[in-house]
Symmetry: C2
């Protein structure tokens, strides 16, 4: 059984304002929930149509699940977890930074890419979509448990950092011919506008993915696919 | 002015059945429509709130545009184009083949990637989402005008082809260490199930993208990001 009040409290976690106020977020589906349960994330409530054999579990009906789910097709269970307190950013290793990324699907894909390529720290400008947005949580497939996402004043951070800052630009150096280090910060820009002028000032090395099509070919790659190719290049060459 | 009958005929092109019956598809927004207008695609009707100075143009109001648009936020214009008659597949160069890809966004991203990397031919199994689906058309950003998409019996085609067939598998050879040719067919699989068993039989070279995270890391990459990395590898090494 789930009360009207609980339904209200859960569904409003679909909004960033309430997630920040409560320090909570929702995850859905057996696979995704299990990834969070097997991590350091703290479970607050689990509403499920089939038992997980955990504490804080409430068995509910499909109809009740539908009332609290953010998915078009709810999948077995919905869990409420605490948003973890992050430690400090360590300026070492390969770091990815996002400048005002807007699309939840793109952020989810980039978090999965970071996980695949062993990038432990993802820095997001404050304008970047929230990583605890339900769409992002579902798109990451649990990678959020292994990648630390920091929302910061990116401009200020890049101004102070001693690491080399890389950015993708059309006029950058051919990434296949570039000598890429094992450490550094790779900046990816906004879907429509790319890297903003204020962030561009802090870029030390401009890189670009060569185009192989004819002159009329597409003018840009999607930010997640460009990120995939660039991370692959950083890891391949080291 | 736009009639009720016209509205019905246009909106039903959002369904594959009617696109195939009529041999027509819709494209929206100034930028995307201009890419098709500047290609060999044949315009049938253009409904727009601002003139394009072309024949077959009907000026309409924002309210009318809303009635025919497939977008949440309609953008200036909607055009109806003829689905082109394709020539025969040429078994040369680098070709991408999709085995039952279901997500329109992924197909759109892969068509853009083909365009970027100079892949002129994209083979789709009959179960793959239709490339003239409005979501795919919008996601391709005009790349559909430069990449020929063929819907075929993929199993039969791969059985007959003399080109080398490459497929991505977890247990494949490290793609960074592989000797990749300039010609061949790269098969990408379904989002949930990967490459099907019947298609797998025709794969001559199994390749894989190494994972750099720890052992617990994400079990797979999104098909579009995996495709991005693999196409980048094919082009980089030649």
């Amino acid at each position: 059984m789930i009360s009207k009040n609980q339904i209200k409290n859960i569904t409003r976690l679909q909004q960033k304002k309430y997630r920040q106020q409560e320090g909570l977020f929702i995850a859905e589906g057996v696979k995704v929930i299990n990834e969070f349960l097997n991590s350091t994330f703290k479970l607050v409530d689990l509403f499920t149509t089939k038992t997980f054999n955990v504490e804080n579990e409430t068995l509910i009906t499909e109809a009740e699940l539908k009332k609290i789910s953010a998915l078009k097709t709810p999948n077995t269970a919905l869990a409420v977890f605490k948003i973890p307190k992050l430690s400090l950013i360590e300026s070492k290793g390969l770091i990815v930074a996002l400048d005002a990324l807007r699309d939840p699907g793109n952020l989810g894909t980039i978090i999965r890419l970071c996980d695949w390529f062993g990038v432990k720290q993802l820095l997001c400008s404050k304008e970047t979509v929230d990583c605890f947005n339900p769409k992002v949580v579902q798109a990451t497939m649990g990678s959020l448990t292994r990648v630390n996402v920091f929302y910061i004043d990116l401009n200020h951070y890049l101004e102070e950092t001693k690491q080399t800052v890389f950015g993708a630009f059309m006029d950058g150096e051919n990434v296949y011919a570039s000598n890429l280090p094992t450490e550094g910060i790779l900046v990816l820009g906004n879907e429509a506008n790319g890297i903003s002028q204020s962030i561009e000032k802090h870029v030390n090395q401009r890189i670009s993915i060569p185009r192989f099509g004819d002159l009329q070919a597409t003018e840009s790659l999607n930010v997640a696919t460009a990120g995939a190719i660039l991370l692959s290049e950083f890891r391949r060459s080291n």
